[in-house]
């Protein structure tokens, strides 16, 4: 442990920059747009795309069989009605929180290091929300009647129950999906104009031209654009915090032991950011390697993300501790029994694995050596992703299998279709990312030019 103050000159030298020096407006534009426009498709891309496309085919088969046979093909039954579908829903929507957090909150806090990671983190958010939205939809059992959840003037004069957290969820998730899409698209407009102007083939010029909406970089346009972007960031910030809060209400408003706690909203939000940053690392590390973006996504980015992971991981640990403490402190025998079941029940190995993945392993991130070791960070991000999935499994399954009355107890195990559907959504998520990096600039070119302008002024 060093006794030096945290930011003396020697330390500052060690901090890598957010952009390696020597870049000009032309070279950042060329480098990022070439990934989309001129770079030949690599063998690795084809292999990765094919594998994930195979998983998407498994997803379509699983969904088709689900629609033919019904939710009975899954492991759910009374008393465990939620199972994998809700575990996966909460997991995916949690992952989807990092994109908007990076784009909106770090933008408001004027953190320059967000610039090169916000674009693909936003794309990741959209794809994760798409995967998340699929699960409650298919979990309804009759997905073709899901429009019942939206308020519309039906001939039966029936309206949704607005006092139910499940309806709040519909509004929260659909608003989040829409606003994330708007945010992403507004950020893309100037870059789409760049691609339109640099594209050589006619079809690309036409497609990017239509998407760019005729953007030409006029100062009056930028003036309004910056207002709109700032407002979107300001709106997305409370929104991102509200979404997982509402998701946690699905649990916390119910009286089931282990769910009915007031700590759920903040600890769900922290967990969402935790898993989201883990997923951004999981994507950023291979992406910067495959497309030689180490100058743009520097060690500084990876280290900062690791620190955010450590901080949110500690909040999550605090949440676990207080769940445990409150069950003892309350003296409620159902809560106490549930806590006992977490440590000694039939699913205790999941609980111990969760503690190992989410609380113990991330403590390595206190050490700078761990934060700057790229392979270790990659493994750690996968461990946290797994841990957060286990957390949702523990919350959903242990509580539902140990309700108030022993006559209502049960066991849950997932079937092959559960696993196939889950694997299929992972395939869908990664496949969409593969497509994204080839058709859209994975890093915001306009914002990188701004960064070049700022850093060159600092050196002058």
């Amino acid at each position: 442990m060093s006794t030096r103050p945290p930011y003396d000159a020697a330390d500052l030298e060690q901090v890598s920059p957010v952009l390696e020096p020597g870049y000009t407006f032309t070279s950042v534009t060329d480098k990022i747009s070439s990934i989309v426009l001129t770079r030949p498709t690599s063998l690795g891309w084809v292999v990765g795309f094919t594998l994930t496309f195979g998983l998407v085919m498994i997803l379509t088969v699983s969904l088709a069989w689900l629609i033919i046979k019904g939710v009975g093909i899954w492991g759910i039954n009374v008393p465990i009605g939620w199972g994998f579908a809700i575990v996966n829903f909460v997991w995916w929507i949690g992952i989807g929180h990092a994109g908007t957090l990076i784009s909106a909150i770090l933008f408001l806090l004027n953190q320059k290091w967000r610039t090169s990671i916000n674009r693909f983190a936003e794309a990741m958010t959209l794809f994760a929300v798409a995967c998340a939205g699929l699960f409650p939809l298919i979990h309804t059992g009759r997905p073709w009647m899901a429009y019942y959840m939206f308020p519309y003037p039906s001939t039966m004069k029936l309206w949704p129950q607005f006092r139910s957290p499940l309806i709040w969820d519909v509004f929260a998730v659909s608003t989040y999906g829409t606003v994330s899409l708007l945010f992403w698209f507004v950020g893309l407009i100037p870059d789409l104009a760049t691609l339109r102007d640099r594209a050589i083939t006619k079809p690309k010029q036409i497609i990017y031209g239509m998407l760019a909406l005729g953007w030409r970089g006029s100062a009056r346009h930028w003036h309004r654009y910056q207002s709109a972007y700032l407002l979107l960031a300001g709106l997305a910030t409370p929104l991102v915090l509200s979404v997982h809060t509402v998701v946690s209400f699905d649990f916390a408003v119910a009286i089931v032991p282990g769910w009915h706690t007031t700590i759920f909203p903040p600890y769900f939000v922290a967990g969402a950011i935790y898993s989201g940053f883990a997923m951004v690392l999981t994507i950023a590390i291979p992406l910067r390697k495959a497309y030689d973006l180490e100058d743009f996504i520097t060690m500084r980015h990876l280290e900062n993300m690791a620190m955010v992971m450590l901080a949110t991981g500690l909040i999550v640990a605090y949440g676990y501790f207080f769940e445990y403490f409150m069950s003892i402190y309350s003296g409620n025998k159902f809560d106490l029994y549930l806590t006992k079941m977490r440590f000694h029940g039939p699913y205790s190995h999941f609980y111990y694995a969760l503690i190992l993945c989410n609380i113990l392993t991330p403590q390595l991130l206190w050490f700078r050596k761990a934060r700057t070791s790229v392979p270790l960070l990659f493994v750690m991000s996968l461990v946290v992703n797994l841990g957060m999935w286990l957390e949702r499994f523990v919350i959903v399954v242990i509580s539902l299998t140990r309700d108030f009355m022993p006559s209502a107890w049960g066991r849950y195990s997932a079937t092959a279709w559960d696993y196939a559907t889950f694997a299929g959504t992972i395939g869908l998520f990664v496949m969409l990312l593969f497509l994204f990096v080839r058709v859209m600039p994975a890093i915001s070119i306009a914002e990188m030019r701004e960064l070049v302008a700022e850093t060159s002024e600092e050196h002058e």
């Binding site: 309206w159 829409t178 709109a228 929104l239 209400f249 306009a446």
Partner: protein
């Protein structure tokens, strides 16, 4: 002068944002008012140099947010109290705390949609074609690495040769006339 109607204006290209801002200031000092700058990223200080007023995007966003929020709340009120009242254990029909999450989400949705579409509408986008796209150098550089200043023909002081000479005097890298088609 007779083909003045076919001219959109005259555009000058500058290699850095500082030279552009300097040129904008000089052009305004010279009395030109119908001018516009084009940059590959938002340049700090450019709005001030062009003396742009505060824009209406925040106001539109506020109206959108209020519409979403009030509309959302009173819609839920109408559903739960008037259209489809459900008496559950004598609890109040207007259980407003339970309406807050949806009200909040619809406030954000209304505000975000109006911010984006308001911004696009005020900017006159989508607009597939613009006279400046006739200029090869503009298409090649305006969205990547160069800074442009255009004096438009509708400026009362505009005179093609004089305005072009004026821009040349500001050390522009290129001065190109823009045809209107």
């Amino acid at each position: 002068m007779e083909h003045r109607s076919h001219i959109y204006g005259v555009v000058a290209e500058f290699p850095t944002q500082h030279e552009l801002i300097h040129a904008v200031e000089k052009t305004r000092e010279a009395g030109y008012r119908r001018i516009e700058a084009y940059t590959p990223f938002p340049v700090e200080g450019l709005s001030e140099a062009l003396a742009l007023k505060r824009n209406n995007v925040p106001l539109i966003t506020l109206i959108g947010g209020l519409t979403g929020g009030l509309g959302g709340f009173f819609f839920q009120y109408w559903v739960c109290v008037l259209a489809y009242p459900l008496n559950i254990g004598g609890r109040p029909l207007n259980s407003w705390p339970a309406f807050i999450p949806v009200t909040f989400e619809l406030t954000v949705l209304g505000a975000a949609l109006s911010a984006v579409f308001g911004m696009l509408a005020l900017n006159g986008l989508p607009r597939p074609h613009h006279p400046l796209f006739n200029v090869q150098r503009f298409v090649k550089h305006a969205t990547s690495d160069r800074f442009f200043l255009c004096i438009e023909a509708r400026d009362p002081k505009f005179n093609l040769s004089e305005s072009a000479r004026f821009l040349q005097g500001l050390h522009a890298a290129h001065v190109i006339e823009v045809e209107d088609d």
